[in-house]
Symmetry: none
Subunit: 226 residues, 4 copies
């Protein structure tokens, strides 16, 4: 049943749109209509998968261990999902969807470019700090997941995000808020900067992430302000 339902990736209604999740149109256009039980099971399994990846890493994640964590039989997983791949992609896409839902509100609430940059970084880090396991899992999967042919499965998934931030930076330059720099290059640096801080927190959770947010905001602010 339910072939090709690698699905979702819908924009949050009203929300601008999630630049991280490029629209990849489903060939079978009818989205699978799932029963209550099915939806619950799928959620349960994705949740279990998230935890396992976060704890044991990408390479240590097997269907057997996901089943164990969810306290179900392995067959239940293969019944509700096409693939291990499908599960892993859902872990990633759901995280981004929810993250962007949160961020977009904060970003749009700001009027100035610098306010939007701060809102972007701040709300992103806040969201991640609140969902550490999900973030770790997403990180692991993005860094490791490959297509059957062997190339990274999530390469270039991030360019739209860079585009969006670049636009904000350019507006800030036009408005005289920011100094002169290559907007696209700096957009990359900022995003990667945040990723990096996240990364250190991912490896070593002794650093309280939320405490580092103001420092990072301040750092970026000085770096780009006129």
């Amino acid at each position: 049943m339910s072939a090709g339902d690698a699905r979702s990736r819908k924009r949050a209604p009203g929300a601008a749109y999630d630049p991280r999740m490029a629209e990849r149109p489903d060939p079978n256009d009818h989205p699978p209509r799932r029963s209550f039980i099915e939806r619950a099971r799928r959620a349960q399994i994705v949740e279990a998968a998230t935890q396992v990846v976060a704890e044991l890493g990408y390479a240590g994640t097997s269907l057997a261990r996901i089943a164990e964590k969810a306290e179900i039989s392995k067959s239940v997983i293969t019944y509700h999902f096409e693939n291990k791949d499908e599960i892993l992609r859902l872990v990633v896409s759901q995280f981004f969807e929810r993250g962007w839902e949160r961020m977009s509100g904060h970003v749009e609430a700001e009027s100035t470019a610098s306010g939007q940059v701060r809102a972007w970084i701040g709300s992103q880090l806040e969201f991640y700090a609140e969902h550490r396991a999900e973030f770790l899992a997403m990180s692991q999967i993005m860094a490791n997941h490959r297509t059957p042919e062997g190339s990274p499965a999530f390469a270039g998934e991030l360019t739209e995000e860079v585009d969006a931030l670049t636009e904000i930076l350019q507006r800030g330059q036009r408005d005289g808020e920011f100094r002169d720099f290559d907007a696209r290059g700096v957009a990359t640096i900022i995003l990667r900067c945040a990723d990096g801080v996240l990364g250190s927190w991912a490896v070593d959770d002794s650093t309280r992430l939320v405490d580092q947010i103001p420092a990072l905001l301040d750092f970026v602010d000085h770096a780009i302000r006129r």
Copy 2:
């Protein structure tokens, strides 16, 4: 995100030699005296392992594939190494050793704190750019390698690096070069910033890393300068 979020650990400048990065000590305390052939074989195998990890990722790396790449029999590997673990740790430690060899020279040649910061970031990125495969391999291993119990094998390996950069920043503040900020926090941010840029390059090699170095240096400069 952050395929390259793990990375960087190297000797504190001036410090002689980090025993943690050394090959694991021989249980019989006399350090292994290796023949010429032995050393050659080990180097060849570590080199092959590096390439395989870079190409196929951590999860795609098996002894069989390393053997294939090195054009030797699998048994040669298990003869010369205790473990798969031993090989992977060597890939990481050798990369850091060589990287720091390069960097320390550049850093120590500078007299001002800001010069040292620039030398640090610049020479690090240059070195990585010249050794992409090694960098990718190191990244993958640091992000994925685990102890038999399942916890990250390279957690908390980064503190010395942070310590060293913190010292430089503090000196810069005392000398009036840098503005006021939490030196340790910013040290982390700077290092992670570089990581982040590396991460984007790791995923997508179309971005010419060396071209981005000046932008990053400029970015950091503005962020910390008085």
Copy 3:
């Protein structure tokens, strides 16, 4: 060789109805009285099974794929049929029933023995040529289907057919149409001959089966005629 080496069994001409080819008898002796819907569903499923076996081969045929082909849920199949076995047997028996319906008319219309032989071979091959998928499916199932214990499920199903053709050949010998030979042995050979030609057509449908019929008739004619 001989993708089509299994095949052919049908009612002896004149004989009413072969119970061995019938659906397996209901344990409670009253024959199943099926509703219109039930009969339609069963037909639909058997038809889908036929197509799947023809396309994917015996080993590639699963209930899941039959359901997919019929665009129904897998449970519909298990509701209407006892078994996978029951479906496969029906594919075979229905093909033979319909085939013999066609052949018997042609054979009985002939008065001479040699005419009957020609009618037999000719109409058989014609029928098969018109129902390639059904023929392929039947072939695959006869060649592969096994009892739960592992022995061929359709062994020894061919004797009646041989008997019937043997009778015709013997009559031809008595009437002086055919030369002297072991009638039973030659009956087997003739039937297998047709099988063989079918087999080559099964593997490679570029050979237009109908074009080969005259050659085969000619071949057999020369072989047995006085």
Copy 4:
């Protein structure tokens, strides 16, 4: 080890050449040099596979069952062979190689075309009769084995055989031994005829194959003789 050693298919030295086994050149041209043990193990496994396929059919043949039959662990099989596919192909190719080795001698010993036809059919059937299990296995594999993409793995493998027999028939026609007919069509029929008789014996071994050989030779003789 030993990648790409799907190998063999060499002509028997001196023997004409086996038309059934089209030369499919090995990309890695160096044939694997196997140890005594390796050759013995491979032979043992192929032999076990042959028996399992003959007894349980293509669909009933699993590596587990082959291992059981050979009284070895399943891993031994995957150590010595790349693939299940490799084993199955060997079962087929070895059978043809050996069969042709036998047949070619008999065929070439004859001077007349009709003698060669008789030698062909006779020695083929004799050989098959002496190696029933191998024949059954080969039959099952040829009828069922598919490429990963789903198309029959052994389609069109037989055309060269038809070519060779066609040549003989044409010579017979030129020499006035045979009557006028479409040589290629009849070659197909004759080969398929033999296959068919074999097929009936395959299903039901009560018929003593060797006893049927003279009848078949006689049948074919009458069919094609002037």
